[in-house]
Amino acid sequence: MSIPTLKNLNIVQTVVDWLDERVPVKAAVEFAGHKEVPVHKHSIWYYMGGIAALFMGIQFATGFLLMFHYVPTFEGAYASVQAINMQVPFGWLIRSMHSWGANVFILVLFIHMFSTYFMKAYRAPREFTWLSGLGLVGIAMVFGFTGYMLPMDEIAYFATKVGVDVAGESPFIGPYLAEFVRGGSEIGQVTMNRFFTLHVIALPLAMMGLFGLHATLIQLQGISEPESIQKLPKAERKYEKFFPDFIKKDVFVWFAVFVGFMLLVTMRPFGLGPQVDPAAMAPIGIKPEWYFLSQFQALKLFPAKILFFDGVHVAMVFIGTVFGSLAVVPILDSTGKIPFISKFATVYGVIFLIGWLFLTIWGSL
């Protein structure tokens, strides 16, 4: 048995070998080395998922920090957020990052969602990647809604009221659901406990789980190419190595986005509205965050009664169907073999996007 001398002992090699016997590191590196990312004129959209993941990380980190100072009580929450904004060193920065981050996260998710939709990346075998992504958007919106209430300013209170009452209009279980979510007949401490627990425990776990699935599927199936690129002859299709080529650019994009984000966060620190007064009327011009504006505008537009139905119910069915269709239409088009459906999916996406933008802008006016 030869005793390794200092000269022939390759420390790195030894450590890697030792580790590889226990954790399949070599296989992972090998796998990453083989993975290729298509390079073409639509490649820019491939960065969106990574940017979304970056913001997910920012939300987890800043949210975790905020919990050290935030007080989740009906009476004390507002004051604690005020203290975070004004007294805690760099509290304003962390809160501004978290609140702005939520908005940017959802924006990036929307861009990521629509770009994969129009590139038809949802097609077989990637249906579950699409559905899990859709689920992540849904979770992000519930994150937004529950997080919204926590500072207990005016908008927090009325947004929660309306949101819960909308749930209360669901068929059959509506009233029970509203009671359950609220934890009683009025918004109060119990509601706050529920929203806080959801926001800091349940939703993060759900998001991590679903994101794990989403990311694993992407690793296993590779990155999808748009149809126009798939049609090209093999020789004209270009690829780059995921590791290290794509990752290098990805890190650069993250860095650039992060710098831009920090500019926004520091130049326009996120504010805090006036404290809620449960007796006071809803303030004129009250509006939800931009990502709920389309639903908000739809609720405004539906009249009290439509034929025999309550306007709210019709509005809910409408909103539910429209958003639900994002799960259905891609599945119909999953083979991509039926030209009519493929065309329909594209046109539908365009109409959806225009309609959504229109209602969102109208709602903001």
């Binding site: 309306v162 009250i286 609720l299």
Partner: protein, 173 residues
């Protein structure tokens, strides 16, 4: 010969007038096993749901909320300090309420919870309407009737009594 015997045996069992199927044939016993396996899984699942779900759901179910039920309260202002056109949002127990000294000189008081999605309504003096800022619902300030926008029903009324000295008492209707 063997083949013949086998096939006749199969025929016989298939035509079995009592059972219909040969329960010992591999396909049948497999599907039966799958069936029982499925039933056990289903039963087990339901059992777990019930045993796990009942306590969890009951644990989370809100207890009857302690609504501060008030049947009567004295309004903070005297009628003398509450001229025509004046209005006030206030809490009547745990419900938000709205008192208006309306243009007819009458006091109207309502539960201020919008019949649409529950925002708190307020009086708009310049337009002489009760307005809900959440989705633009409008109500008549004299009757509480819904007149425009999404609200499907009138506001719920309360009662305002005025004593000889101008003290205003709010009561449930």
């Amino acid at each position: 010969m063997t083949t013949e015997q086998d096939s006749s045996k199969t025929n016989e069992s298939q035509n079995n007038p009592q059972g219909g199927y040969d329960l010992d044939s591999p396909e049948v016993s497999f599907s039966r096993r799958a069936f029982f396996g499925g039933m056990i899984a289903l039963g087990g699942g339901l059992w777990a749901l019930l045993v796990g779900g009942t306590p969890i759901l009951s644990f989370l179910w809100p207890k009857k909320s302690e609504v501060v039920t008030v049947t009567e309260m004295t309004f903070e202002k005297n009628l003398k300090d509450f001229p025509v056109g004046e209005s006030k949002n206030f809490m009547f127990g745990s419900i938000p309420a709205l008192l208006i000294h309306d243009t007819n000189g009458k006091l109207s008081v309502f539960n201020a919870k919008c019949s649409h999605l529950g925002c708190t309504v307020g009086y708009q003096k310049d337009k002489d309407v009760i307005y809900c800022a959440c989705h633009g619902g409008t109500y008549d300030p004299n009757t509480g009737k819904n007149i425009a926008g999404p609200p499907p029903a009138p506001l719920k009324p309360l009662v305002a009594d005025v004593a000889a000295d101008g003290t205003i008492t709010i009561k449930i209707a």
